[in-house]
Amino acid sequence: MTAYFAGIDVGSTMTKAVILNDGVVASVIGSTGPEQRRLANKVMEEALKRAALPFAAITYVVATGYGRINVPFADAQFTEITCHARGIASLFPEAKTIIDVGGQDIKAIRIDGAGKITDFVMNDKCAAGSGRFIEVIADTLGIPLNTVGDLSLQSKNPAKISNICTIWAQQEVAASLAQGIPIPDLLAGVHRSLTERISTMVNRLRVEEAIVVTGGGAKNKGLLKALSEQLGHEILVPEEPLITGALGAALLGKEMAQRAKLKDAPLKTKERILEEIEIF
């Protein structure tokens, strides 16, 4: 009988689920919102639907991300640091540095040749450098978020954005726009400012190639270009950079199940029920 494993990553902005056996069978991405438990439930339901599997077919479920404790059906929890490392090591065995540009924070993780974490840093104090920074700027400029990257690549003369605080940068961008600075130049300037923040943090880790970028930020071509220039290294990006944490969680679940089987030990699991839970 085929064994399936699920990983669910409840991030600050997006919730992601992956179901795998020998490879990924299904993946789902949804926005988190405040009712994490209820949404975790829905994302899991959707993933099962796509995989055409009943929940009972899942051998083990691992939750990760900020909302990992709000996943009532998870059999185990791991931090997003461990899960990103595991997920990326499976996709890019040569990876040494992972930069996750998430909605509300940035993480940088160093892994060794065996895919084990040797060091990590997180910026959780300030939105500067995170995906939220770009969301605020896109909103100020009145442009859709998914066009930010491509537009910034049209820039010939990136603007200088000196404020690193998201709120002050928003005002600086609005003032620069009023002065007639073209939107592509403003966006390129914003990316430069953002990547300066990111690289300052990442350099604390002694960056080594290969560098992989994950999270929503990895979908922004302008950000990737600026980050690559800033770090002076080529950057790799997974096919779907949002699901690497959930993928890592599912892989960790698979390894736990395999270890238990090897030791002939029972695998403690929760009841396979997906119910809506009222928490507010």
Binding site: T79, T82, G113, I117, D119, F120, R204, R206
Partner: protein, 467 residues
């Protein structure tokens, strides 16, 4: 108004030792002792700083030290610093300056404005001084500037500014070639302090008493070293959380019989715990070193959180402000002032010779390596307090250097051709970020998320460690 904004009381931290649990009343007593002395008016009170090797002089002259860093730390630990920080900010001082100093300056300004202690001052407040003894410590300019700022509100209180340098580490030079010059200079500074206090108190220094107190301190130094070495036992009988309490007699009560007796009792308690194999954490899984940085005083409960994950802290570089005199290569002298100066130099150069022997090492890194081995350490935790440069500059560099020159964890990895290869992995480290007393810089959720990730890294190493 700022004075109304008191924060929620923190939960009490669980201690592993009776000695650490007894610290609260001890601190309260010496704070109220300074208030009593102020009211009685028989002794002079001196604002001053820790780690200056001058306690013996103060106590021999019957001058009561008022440890201003201690009071700021108490405000932080009681989560009652914010209103004093805001006071200092309203005076035009930036929040990015030393928050100990800001808290103290804000408190002083308020006390002087009212002509009495600010409302609900922690443990009755900080007594007004007769003199202020500031002592820069190479990088720590707040230790000179703080009292100059406070003097604006207390223009009648004189300052004696003492300079205590030590030779910097140079791989190609023997510090002993130059330390004689430093010694002469420090002796002059200490003798200057004696004359200043003689002028202020109207008393002459009793050098026999000074010699006795210096001897008492020396014995306490050696005793502390012997006591803390007991923490190397497995399981570790006392962690860094407790050491953040036992730093009180170590830093604020030196040259007193109370401090000596405290460590006699602590040593006995630890010996008994070691004999019973009683640990800070009973199921000890990971042994960590607090490798640098002053603690977030309002978040000492985080040590309990580490403990709940099976992690203990047998050793810390912070507040281990003593080194065994028996292992210190300093000249003998019968002059207590000269001895204090030699002890100062001996302490700060303690790791120099060892560091020179290891390529790429530096004294701070060498101390980490020695203690990693001595205390069987699995990982290092540091705290970067944004407002303190003195103790926090170079922490990341130390970790980088350590990772470069020292890889102690043997693991097997799949090598070329599918064979198992033994390699050595660097020690995992965690840098926590917040402040010594500014709670607005701290998030418990994020801090604990980082701790969880660090514990997972340690666990992963534990599983893959080659036997």
């Amino acid at each position: 108004m700022a004075e109304e904004q008191k924060e929620a009381k923190p939960k009490k931290r669980m201690t592993a030792t009776q000695a650490a649990a007894s610290i609260g009343p001890l601190v309260k007593e010496f704070i109220t002792g300074t208030l009593r002395a102020r009211a009685e008016g028989k002794q002079k009170l001196a604002y001053t700083f820790i780690v200056c090797h001058h306690e013996e002089i103060l106590r021999a002259m019957d001058v009561v030290p008022v440890w201003t860093e201690n009071f700021a730390g108490i405000c932080g630990a009681k989560r009652d610093a914010e209103r004093f920080l805001q006071r200092a900010e309203s005076l035009g001082l930036s929040r990015s300056l030393c928050t100990y100093a800001l808290c103290g300056i804000g408190f002083d300004q308020w006390r002087e404005e009212l002509g009495q202690m600010p409302p609900d001052s922690p443990w009755g407040g900080q007594a007004r001084p007769d003199v202020m003894i500031s002592t820069g410590q190479i990088l720590c300019d707040p230790r000179s500037k703080w009292y100059q700022a406070s003097q604006q509100f207390m223009p009648d209180v004189p300052i004696y500014n003492m300079d205590l340098p030590y030779p910097m580490f140079q791989r190609d030079q023997d510090h002993r070639d130059v330390w004689g010059y430093y010694h002469k200079y420090i002796v002059k500074q200490l003798r200057g302090l004696v004359s200043f206090l003689e002028g202020q108190t109207g008393k002459k220094m009793d050098y026999d008493r000074l010699r006795e107190l210096t001897d008492l301190s020396d014995r306490t130094w050696n005793l502390i070293d012997e006591t803390y070495e007991l923490r190397g036992a497995v399981p570790c009988p006392m962690g860094t959380g407790d050491a953040m309490n036992t730093m009180v007699p170590l830093c604020f009560m030196m040259a007193t019989q109370t401090a000596y007796d405290f460590f006699v009792n602590l040593k006995k308690e630890l010996e008994e715990k070691v004999a019973r194999r009683e640990g800070e954490v009973q199921q000890e899984k990971y042994r960590l070193m607090w490798g640098g940085g002053l603690p977030a005083w309002y978040a000492l409960n985080d040590f309990n959180y580490f403990n709940s994950k099976g992690a203990s802290f047998p050793v810390e570089t912070t507040y281990r402000m003593v080194a065994p005199l028996t292992k210190m290569d300093i000249p003998d002298t019968q002059d207590p002032i000269e001895h204090l100066a030699w002890r100062w130099l001996g302490y700060w150069t303690f790791w120099y010779d060892k560091a020179k022997k290891r390529p790429g090492s530096e004294p701070d890194v060498e101390r980490l390596i020695n203690w990693i081995e001595e205390y069987k350490i699995d990982g290092i935790v540091m705290h970067e307090a944004f407002s303190c440069r003195t103790w926090h500059v170079g922490l990341i560099w130390q970790l980088h250097q350590l990772a470069k020159i020292y890889k102690p964890i043997p693991v097997f990895v799949a090598g070329k051709g599918g064979t198992k290869e033994k390699v050595y992995r660097e020690l995992p480290s965690l840098i926590l970020e917040s402040d010594i007393i500014d709670i607005t810089s701290y998030s418990e959720v994020d801090t604990r998320n980082k701790i969880d990730a660090f514990i997972e890294t340690l666990e992963s190493n534990r599983i893959s460690k080659a036997s």
